[in-house]
Amino acid sequence: MSLLLPGMHVAGGTPLHRLDPRVKMGASLLLMVLPFVAPSLPSNLLLAGFVVALAILSAVPLMALVRTLRVVVWTGIFMFVFRLFTTPGTPLLTVGGISVTLQGLGAGAVQIYRLCLLVVVSSLLTYTTSPAQLAHGVEAVLEPLARLGLPVREFAMVLTIALRFVPTLFEEIEKIVKAQEARGALIRTGPLWKRVPGWVPVFVPLFVSAFRRAEDLATAMEARGFRSAHQRTHLYRLHLTRHDLAASLLILALGAVILFVEWRMG
């Protein structure tokens, strides 16, 4: 496995794998939002430490995590540079009227930290939760909206199928890229301005085959008695265990401590 993308979950027996998907989704959301409401250094050291502990607990392969982080490297650099030049404050260096500020350096670093946290937390979620569990969790969380007549179950079904085809599409991209490279196309090597047009002959066959797949899949689903998402039942039943309760309390405690720290620091 090269990247930690949704749908590339690996079954495992760690405590994180066994948690209820609703608890994991709630916790992930909290961990991603906290750095925005709690800007101080001590809170964020605590938060980062907690996330590192989770990563260790999940037994996620470090290399895969690093490769996943590399995907957002350009976004990160862009955000950093943007902050560096646009944050007002004490100038460190001025080039042609635009100055790099001390505050900008700090703000840029904070951006990168938030981005990394976002990627790591969402990677941990998809690494430890099967797509079916994710979709099932989404469905359970959104259940109240179903009562208002929104198509929540259909949405969960679509999500399940989309997640199921993520690895398939990546395999297919890999195959097409290799085929095009064998004919001399520059896709993964060479200068950027030459690589971009190289991707066109990758996406065209990809779309063609995706439509073929969708058609086959629809026929197979119909043959297996699919009518609507409504009278369907689920192989898995979600139920909260003591384990889930403890995890929820822990994450709420973390949130409380961080808010307390923020309050004390003013």
């Binding site: 749908g7 979950h9 398939t168 026929t219 197979a220 119909e222 008695g225 009278q231 039942t233």
Partner: protein, 292 residues
């Protein structure tokens, strides 16, 4: 009496006494976009009994896929009738019962895998029936055992071989506890080992579980595994008999554009070289025992 009532009564009378699948003067025409039509099935009368193992062969475009898609109501007759277990496919309310009793497996192992693990995929059919989780669990475990994939229950599709994916699809069909499974060229995208395993699975389902099998195939060697063989050419069933009877028709096979099973071909060549072999050696096993 309304037409609907008449059909209902007919269904009641027929149960049990009638064959499991019955086609009466079935035709199918596909409408073409620019006007006109393709007459893919041109009047087919056919019965299949419970517990049979039938192979369906024929050249490309002869109408095999069209025919089998009528057997679970994926397609509906242009004219004629399709009866399955005493139910008429053209009856909208029968459709779900028919699909519960007739499972279907398609050619591409990747594109019929609905869920993200083996066990969830196998559960898809019975989930559509609205069964409770305990019953789903039981059916999934039973079906996986029958195809020999119990250890792969939590594997995602991208970690399975093509043959394992096809057996997952067979388990998925089994999970609704059907009387019949129809497979449309299930082995054409598999490697030799995958083919062999899939065929062995089908044979044991037929022999040990009494499940009716209809296997569409391009491989004459696979067709010899069946007890009955149908040949389709240009929308018609042109031959119906045991594999020995069908392959005994020499010249006509060539007209239909069909090959011979490899054992038969080897036996023919050996005879040309002067070896004295009995006629009707269809499988490699038969050939081997005749030679030794």
């Amino acid at each position: 009496m309304s037409k609907k009532q008449a059909l209902g009564n007919q269904a009641l009378e027929s149960q049990g006494a009638r064959p499991f699948i019955e086609l009466r003067a079935l035709t199918h025409a596909y409408a073409l976009e620019g006007g006109g039509e393709v007459r893919a099935l041109q009047g087919i009368d056919l019965t299949i009994e419970r517990g049979e193992f039938v192979a369906l062969v024929g050249p490309n475009g002869s109408g095999k896929s069209t025919l089998v898609r009528h057997l679970n109501g994926l397609l509906l007759p242009t004219s004629g009738q399709v009866w399955v277990d005493g139910l008429l496919t053209a009856h909208p309310s029968s459709l779900w019962k028919i699909r519960e009793r007739v499972g279907m497996v398609f050619q591409n192992p990747e594109n019929q895998f609905v869920a993200s693990t083996v066990e969830e995929d196998v559960a898809f059919g019975p989930e559509n029936l609205g069964l409770p989780p305990d019953e789903l669990r039981r059916r999934v475990d039973d079906a996986l055992k029958l195809v020999g994939l119990t250890e792969y229950a939590t594997h995602p599709p991208h970690m399975l071989s093509g043959g394992q994916k096809q057996r997952t699809a067979i388990a998925g069909a089994l999970a609704t506890r059907p009387a019949c499974i129809i497979l449309d060229e299930p082995t054409s995208m598999l490697d030799p080992l995958g083919r062999r395993r899939t065929l062995e699975t089908l044979r044991s389902l037929n022999q040990d579980q009494g499940i009716t099998i209809l296997l569409v195939t391009q491989s004459m060697d696979e067709a010899t595994a069946a007890e009955r063989m149908l040949v389709m050419v240009r929308g018609r069933v042109v031959s119906d008999g045991t594999p020995a009877e069908v392959f005994g028709q020499g010249q006509r096979l060539r007209e239909w554009g069909l090959g011979l099973p490899s054992a038969l071909e080897i036996a023919d060549r050996l005879r040309e070289r002067g070896l004295n072999l009995p006629a009707g050696l269809l499988t490699v096993e038969q050939l081997a025992s005749a030679l030794c």
